[in-house]
């Protein structure tokens, strides 16, 4: 919790010289600095978006054309048809959604067990945190050999199972925090009325911590959406995700397929834009625990 105390204007203005002028100057510099930061951090998105709408005559022109003269969606159509982009976009959506739901369903009871009964003590919590820090490269080699042996490469099931499980430590960690804030008395009242523990969890606890579960779900979604290493090793021609599709535009230079390459980046970063606004309050916590990296 952060405590912010409003600063009385009189105190701020008490400076030597011309307080008003000096204050205005400082504010002006602040806005200038933030404007520069916005240009740096958002400029690339702007160029990618406009380029995805440009025709050849704009893209190959010099002096450069920054705003497309005749914007069209033809590169998106090309991406969806010629490069099977629609299929891979759908793959990403389905794989991310299913993994997100599965991770929630499996993690909630575990988080409940840790929050209510201190299951596993501090050891389990530590192990979960260490697992979050584990580099994916350490896991992919044995997983690849095992998946090959069981015929799980190039399968939706194999990929979804891996994403679900890899995400459990993070989901449990966040959910434990949300559950600890939840007063135990409410569910106990329900249990005295004859509710079983599991039913109390589903009918009493879940509706109340739904916002917390939504946060975990959105982070799980975007982490799976963004994941690359498992995807590039384990997917085949049918099961590719958007992240793997993008790699097909790097061979032989990007100039030829600039339109489809930029269109796929636009589609690939859409969830990030949505989630950044929806999860503002939780960004620090989620990012710190590796919420967006698979």
């Amino acid at each position: 919790m952060s405590v912010t105390i409003a600063r009385p204007a009189a105190v701020t203005a008490r400076r030597v010289g011309h307080p008003r002028l000096r204050h205005g100057f400082a504010q002006g510099l602040t806005y200038l600095g933030l404007a520069l930061a916005l240009v740096f951090f958002l400029g690339p998105f702007f160029w990618i978006l406009t380029t995805s709408l440009k025709g050849n005559e704009d893209f190959f022109a010099y002096p450069p054309v920054w705003i497309p003269s005749d914007p069209s969606l033809k590169h998106y159509i090309g991406l969806f048809t010629r490069s099977s982009g629609l299929r891979y976009f759908t793959n990403s959506l389905v794989i991310s959604s299913v993994s997100m739901l599965a991770a929630l369903v499996v993690s909630l009871p575990t988080a409940y067990s840790i929050a209510r009964w201190r299951f596993g003590g501090g050891l389990l919590s530590t192990v979960l945190l260490v697992l979050r820090m584990l580099p994916a490269i350490a896991l992919i080699i044995p997983i690849y050999i095992m998946y090959k042996a069981f015929g799980l490469t190039n399968s939706y099931f194999g990929l979804v199972m891996l994403y679900t499980v890899v995400y459990i430590p993070f989901a449990v960690w966040l959910l434990v925090g949300f559950l600890r804030e939840f007063p135990v008395e409410i569910e106990e009242a329900a249990m005295i009325d004859g509710c079983s523990r599991l039913r109390a969890l589903v009918t009493v606890v879940m509706p109340i911590i739904a916002p917390g579960m939504a946060v975990v779900a959105l982070f799980a979604f975007i982490a799976t959406w963004n994941e690359f290493l498992f995807a590039i090793v384990l997917t085949g021609i049918e099961t590719k995700t958007m992240m793997v599709l993008v790699t097909s535009f790097t061979t032989g230079g990007t100039d030829q397929f600039y339109g489809e390459a930029t269109a796929s980046v636009v589609l690939g970063v859409l969830p990030a834009f949505a989630v950044a606004f929806m999860l503002q309050r939780y960004l620090v916590k989620g990012l710190a625990l590796g919420g967006t990296k698979g």
Partner: protein
């Protein structure tokens, strides 16, 4: 009050039953493969040779640490990318956080907008920048020529040093927002009364920054740097798209090198040994970092 959770009606099997599905899955999909990878790392299993393998003990580890110039080079490359990235991310993140901590209009929306790059996948960030760096039609060269800063088509990925600079630039763009968010949270937890007391005592804002903000923000900065450092040892997707390790392996990181050994050369045992060395390295780095923190905190100022 919390004791009521241990009411007599509690069933002994319940905590275990609730936790077991995810523990079982973690065991099967994470812990068992990790143990299997360790076993693999002691063999000479090579898919390009055949399915037969024999036990070679620690030979893979010895080869990596004493004879494999490519692996040792990748350790060096990773360090060369990590160090400047961390410094720039910390300074730039601190600067922006300080600006956002002032009384300004539209703070939530500006914060969310600046935070967006951190939510984007490394692959997408790298693809966007790869096109921005495009030799003939990229925005950077176009802008440079329009402003008269460049007069030829400049290839950003032809020279090892400039390639590393470009990788660091993209990494800074990608993850400074994270550092900024962490530091902003830290700044907002510093009580304003401290600044007011300092002002009453006649301190300038500059003095306030050095004597109040920085000392109180030290812990937050350390945490942010440590998280970024651990993440940077995993640098893979960004390299894969932006440089594919080139030119001449100058931007080949440990994670990318391990990927190539495993899935281009198919030397599974050796790649497992490399991945264990990475895990060990990260662990040691983390411990050193925590130890330094504790030592500096224990020492009287």
């Amino acid at each position: 009050m919390r004791l009521s959770a241990f009411a007599p009606s509690r069933k002994q099997w319940e905590p275990v039953a609730f936790a077991s599905p995810s523990l079982f899955l973690i065991g099967v999909v994470i812990l068992f493969p990790l143990a299997y990878a360790f076993y693999l790392s002691l063999l000479n299993f090579d898919l390009s040779v055949g399915p037969d393998a024999e036990f070679v003990g620690a030979r893979n580890y010895a080869e990596a640490l004493f004879r494999d110039g490519r692996f040792l080079g990748s350790v060096w490359n990773t360090a060369v990318i990590i160090a400047p990235s961390l410094v720039v991310e910390l300074l730039l993140g601190l600067g922006i956080a300080l600006l956002l901590n002032r009384k300004i209009r539209g703070r939530p929306i500006v914060t969310a907008l600046i935070a967006i790059p951190a939510m984007v996948s490394p692959v997408m960030a790298a693809m966007a920048w790869r096109m921005l760096f495009g030799v003939k039609f990229g925005a950077i060269n176009n802008l440079g020529r329009q402003l008269g800063l460049l007069d030829v088509y400049f290839d950003w990925f032809a020279n090892p040093f400039i390639s590393i600079v470009a990788v660091v630039l993209v990494e800074v763009w990608h993850n400074t927002p994270f550092m900024m968010l962490v530091l902003l949270a830290g700044l907002q937890s510093i009580p304003q009364e401290l600044y007011e007391a300092a002002r009453v005592d006649g301190a300038t804002p500059w003095q306030g920054f050095w004597t109040i903000t920085l000392p109180l923000l030290k812990f937050t900065m350390a945490v942010g740097v440590m998280i970024r450092m651990i993440d940077l040892t995993k640098l893979f997707g960004l390299i894969f798209i932006l440089t594919y390790g080139g030119p001449g392996g100058a931007t080949e990181t440990v994670a990318f090198n391990t990927y190539l050994v495993g899935f281009k050369d198919f030397r599974m045992s050796y790649a497992s040994a490399l991945s264990y060395l990475i895990v060990g390295g990260v662990l040691i780095l983390t411990l050193i970092f925590m130890w330094i923190q504790r030592y500096r905190e224990a020492r009287p100022a």
